[in-house]
Amino acid sequence: MSSSREGEVALRGLRIHYPDRDRPAIDGLTESIDDGETVVLTGPSGCGKSTLCRTIAGFIPELIPARVGGAATVEGTSVWDADSAHIAQRVGYIQQDPDAQICTLRVEREVAFGPENLDLSLEEVQARVDTSLEAVGIGHLRGRETTDLSGGEKQRLAIASILAMRPRILLLDEPTANLDPDGAKALFDLLGRLRDAGEMTLIVAEHRIRPLLGMNPRVLVLDRGRLVRRHPRERIDPRDMGPRTDGGSARAAAPMAERSLSVARLTFGYAEPLFRDLTFDLRRGEILGVIGPNGSGKTTLLRLIAGLGMPDEGRIDRPDGVGFVFQHPHHQIFERTVMRELAVDGDPVEAGEFERWLDEGRLAGLGDVPPLSLSLGEQRRLTLLTALRRGPQLLLLDEPFIGQDRRNVEWIVGRMRAHCASGGSILLVSHDVPLIGALADRILYLGEVPRFGPPGEVFSELRAAGRSPFLPEFWEGPDG
């Protein structure tokens, strides 16, 4: 698909190498993207999708230091030579975490922020704010405080604030990474409408591309910084549809009869009840998957089970040993070295055992390294190992797969299976519905009507209720 004529975005022999990294993040990439095209960038975590987006947006090397080579142009302007604020007049970039890109305190002000930077007239700014808010369907939120919005609303706000800049090219970097399945579906619908309007070039970096196929995109598959496959709109290689998990082999050994956790008539809420009379149990050797929309109380449920909060009503019978692995590893890293981090109650680990744990976590040779200097994947493995080293009977995992590549996901799944095989039990919260469907022995759906039971039963009820984004086939297709 690479053409001799210059596209709207043209990359020739592009090479990006971050300081202190062994290999380049982008390694000799040549590609051209035409005006009005819809392109999906896919590939495992660390393949260079985000780097490519940030390069096209002009942030590298101006704001993100890196050695750069080759050429990257946007509408004929080299991104190396232009200020990123100049590039931003043509390219709108939406980051993974919508919450992390909101600069102001009110919805309307956030959307006006960009056009005001262009020194437009007040009337023009207001017109752009109105149009952009309506385009993403959040006109009714204009007076709200940005901190009050849900994850999905924040993502729409982030898009509205970029649309108000009237970019020619819209870049979205894993826009569904922090969204629940409902929010992700709404986002895909919105992108479809933008594509149908045909006014801009869409470049979307995503792991799971099946829901995007309705937009008839061209798919570029990256791996280790190289372009490994290009697919025309009509023919997508099933290998590139997104990570699949073999349910049969991923599921742990048969659960035991003995109960590990029992929750009876649990009621909890803030201004409004999050859940009322919630009852479920977890047996030893079992994985219970918890799914549901943003704000349905999944993390709150884990906090209550861990004893970090008191329920309003109801009873929780938990085992003595409970380990809790948070969503973001850096919240749980406290010590100066990996070795000290692995120590329990401040006692250093004995040398032989210590080496075994480091090997187990693929962290060999990193014992004296500051944990915060590790990669995200290494930090995730370290926090899981730290929790496992304390020998918990019940392990609580909050979104452990976000931002993890396939190898890390497989490693985490392996540890989960080993934990269950040794009589432990796991409560797993994740938006990754296909993975939950493949891993969990039973599923708890926290939503408008909570549901609890074996995956087939819960998915069948959700299917009947029209909750398609919470079904594995929405993400992976009916052909399994």
Binding site: C103, T104, G143
Partner: protein, 255 residues
């Protein structure tokens, strides 16, 4: 939510940042300029009344200021104990005099008015509108937005601090600041993880701002001047009244 929005649009919340700033200057000016206890007490009453008018319930107003109240109490006690001149009211192992009581009450009231009126200003003024006002006054917009960004980080740091404390509890880490070693541990176990989160967030926001042309031009769209409302008149009227009161109290030698 609609009810909450209406609450926010009452009293001084309706007044412009400029009118609120003039009122704040009046409130602070009168307690600094006037030595009169009655004037200071009256000014404190006015602040409480204005808070109630602005939709801040008196109970929650004082709850938010509980540390200020405790500190004001300490100031009162320290002052009352340290002044030995005047007629003794208590003469045992300590000597507490009428002058000590008056000086303590005066200092505590001054402290309370300054802190509570500043708190009311922060509660009443929308930071976005304040930044717009700063820009209209000619302050470069980059500095005006620093204010908004710093306020944007307040709820973020509160949330991060809660998560880190929960992570400590899960690990069984006890953080105490009663010894030097404890303070060092508190810094490492609390400050470092929160700082890491903050730095990551700063990077994202910098990209977001630059990605929306922040700093591209020397000028940016000037916000529309706010129209004069009744609340502005009341705020400025109060400020003028307070200035007059301070002048009269000082000239009349009120104490």
């Amino acid at each position: 939510m609609a009810e909450r929005s209406r609450m926010r649009e009452t009293g001084l919340r309706r007044a412009s940042p400029t009118a609120n700033l003039v009122l704040l200057a009046g409130l602070i000016g009168v307690v600094l300029a006037s030595p009169s206890l009655a004037v200071r007490l009256g000014t404190l009453g006015l602040v409480i009344g204005l808070a109630a008018w602005s939709g801040v319930p008196v109970r929650s107003f004082f709850r938010s200021l509980r540390f200020v109240l405790v500190f004001a109490g300490l100031l009162f006690v320290a002052q009352a104990l340290s002044i030995r001149e005047g007629i003794a009211w208590i003469e045992s192992f300590v000597r507490i005099t009428d002058l000590g009581i008056l000086a303590g009450a005066g200092m505590a009231l001054r402290f309370l008015v300054i802190l509570s009126s500043s708190f009311l200003f922060v509660q009443a003024v929308d930071p976005d509108r304040l930044a717009a006002a700063l820009i209209r006054w000619g302050i470069p917009y980059r500095y005006g937005y620093l204010l908004i960004l710093s306020l944007r980080f307040v709820p973020f740091f509160q949330r991060e601090l809660r998560i880190v404390r929960e992570a400590q509890a899960v690990r069984g880490l006890r953080v105490s600041v009663r010894s030097l070693k404890g303070i060092r541990r508190a810094i490492r176990y609390t400050f470092v993880p929160v700082l890491v989160s903050g730095l990551m967030r700063v990077d994202s926001i910098a990209l977001s701002m630059k990605g929306r042309c922040f700093g591209l031009y020397r000028r940016r769209t000037a916000p529309r001047p706010e129209r004069f409302r009744g609340a502005d008149g009341i705020a400025i009227g109060c400020a003028v009244l307070l200035a007059g009161l301070a002048f009269v109290a000082r000239r009349g030698g009120w104490t």
